[in-house]
């Protein structure tokens, strides 16, 4: 059987489909149309109702393959990888894309080994080579200093993880129809050498920077921990998450999950506001796919200004309190 169709690997959380799945559908749709094949969403989970699976079709899928099992409720490596490997071997998609989340970046490399597929990490661009029909994958590498274009000429599926929030989903079309297939797989695929014993959410401490539409980040320029409250306050007013430079994390002002940059997280929000961050290459590598960057810093030489769309070169202790005050007034009106 020849390899065909474009697959996306959907993600869910407590039975609710994650937004990254819809973003992947937009990427997948562009590819499937150029290849003139079907776009299939693979959705593993537990008790995801058909109404929700239908949304995958409304956002662009022609077909949904759903696997429902208690063992797929939480993200535990073994059953997820076993099931995806099984279905890839059974249906043979020519392209399979996953989101470059902690889930996608865990499942994809294992499936690539199991299926002898080529895999490209954290792509920011995907296209089809008109001549050969091969997938053309573009990704930043070496701290964002270069863009590499990668192909997988002789192996199928061609696999890629795509940077989350690097594109918008298609507009939802409630008229769209498609097929939902409830796939049953052998029970032994759910055997697991790993089990989840507990889960501790981190919502309460300033939000998740990778899923956030807006990130407000502070750095060494905050001078001390108490001043970091200005960053938190601004984030709250803008309904955003709190980010930080490596220095701020190393000084213990905020925990590691908030670190943006090469040794922290890569973020692609609609708006990234930085204050008191000079912008080392390592930090800039983490924000290159942000849609809009605002920088506030008093160092005229700060590298962050070279990537910012809007900058104020001034003392953040002058700018932020005034900005916070005005935003509060703005909200009231």
């Amino acid at each position: 059987m020849a390899y065909k169709d474009v697959w996306i690997l959907g993600e869910q959380e407590n039975g609710k489909i994650r937004d990254v799945s819809y973003e992947l559908l937009k990427r997948g749709k562009d590819l499937a149309e150029k290849r003139n094949v079907k776009l299939v969403a693979l959705m593993l989970g537990y008790e995801i109702d058909d109404q929700q699976l239908q949304t995958l079709i409304e956002y662009g899928a022609d077909k949904v393959i759903a696997v429902n099992h208690k063992k797929l409720q939480d993200f535990v490596v073994d059953p997820h990888i076993n099931v995806v490997t099984e279905l890839v071997n059974k249906y043979k998609p020519e392209i399979m894309i996953a989101s470059a989340t902690t889930t996608g970046r865990t499942v994809a490399p294992a499936v690539a080994i199991n299926c002898h597929a080529g895999l490209t990490a954290d792509c920011t661009g995907l296209d089809i080579d008109e001549e050969t029909g091969n997938l053309i994958q573009t990704r930043p590498a070496i701290g964002g200093n270069i863009l590499a274009t990668i192909k997988t000429p002789n192996h199928r599926p061609q696999m890629a993880t795509v940077r989350p929030h690097s594109n918008q989903p298609l507009e939802r079309d409630s008229e769209r129809s498609g097929e939902i297939v409830h796939e049953t797989v052998s029970e032994e695929l759910f055997a697991s050498r790993i089990k989840q014993t507990d889960f501790k959410p981190i919502e309460e401490e300033g939000g998740n920077i990778q899923d956030a539409n807006i990130v407000v980040a502070g750095g060494k320029g905050c001078k001390k921990e108490e001043n970091f409250e200005l960053i938190e306050k601004l984030a709250e007013l803008l309904d955003g998450a709190v980010g930080a430079s490596r220095e701020a994390v190393d000084l213990g002002w905020i925990s590691y999950p908030h670190q943006v940059g090469l040794s922290g997280k890569t973020v692609s929000p609609k708006l990234y506001v930085s204050a008191g961050i000079s912008g080392a290459v390592q930090h800039l590598a983490g924000i290159k796919t942000a849609e809009n960057i605002v920088a506030i810093d008093n160092d005229p030489e700060a590298q962050i200004f070279t990537v910012a769309d809007f900058s104020i070169q001034a003392d953040m202790f002058q700018v932020l309190p005034l900005l916070i005050e005005k935003l509060q007034d703005h909200k009231k009106n």
Binding site: T102, I113, A141, N145, A148, T149, S263, V294, T306
Partner: protein, 265 residues
Amino acid sequence: MKIIVPIKQVPETSNVKMDPETGTMVRSGVEQIINPLDLYAIEEAIRLKDEQGGEIVTITMGPPSAEKALREAIAMGCDSGILLSDKNFAGADTWSTSYVLAQAIKKIGDFDVILCGERATDGDTGQVGPGIASWLKIPFLTYVSGIDKVTPKSMIAERNVENGYQFLEIQRPALFTVVKEINFPRLPTLRGKKKARDMEIPVWGPDDVDAEPDNLGLKGSPTRVVKISKPKVSREGEKLTPQTDQEVEESVDKLIQYFEKLEII
């Protein structure tokens, strides 16, 4: 407890050159260091050994000069090092690299835990750790921010994901890729440095690890880098440099207008 730590040597600066013909990195002329994120894996291995006893073997695949990275790891506290180096290994992508490392680990044998950095700061894929585990058919956890408990047959670890921390029990042998949050890596000691200097480091090639020639190097790699380009780094941004209080206030007003234009307020 036998712990294996696969590491990678990476260029010190993020300013590296690429060979336009092969699309691979030019490694000469740039200082080479242990991938900074691998230091956390080395530190965690030393901590586990201190608690459980045993030995730590560190391995790397790379040019002969990658031996230096192994000596640095030994100076920190690893017991021995093995270098995988051969012209047939060159140009490997993550699929082929993880194959060779897994073959070497099979040869070392009898291991309990494999600890890797989350990803390397040059390639930035994070694919080799999960790849090794898949070749070895052992369970693995990525993004591990803490190893909480070791029992005779399993381990309990926490995994730092987008929305929180997962706590998981995993059977041994197992592989972990660890994140920076897990510990504070120690510096090498003088004694460690001396030990590292005197240590003999074996070099293994394809035959030593029973590798299939078809799985090696550029030839054995499913992916091909076909083009390298320079991304557009700078944006045409508006920059305000207010001096007086009044100018600061005007700047803030302009910033608020900018937010309004983006429709975020």
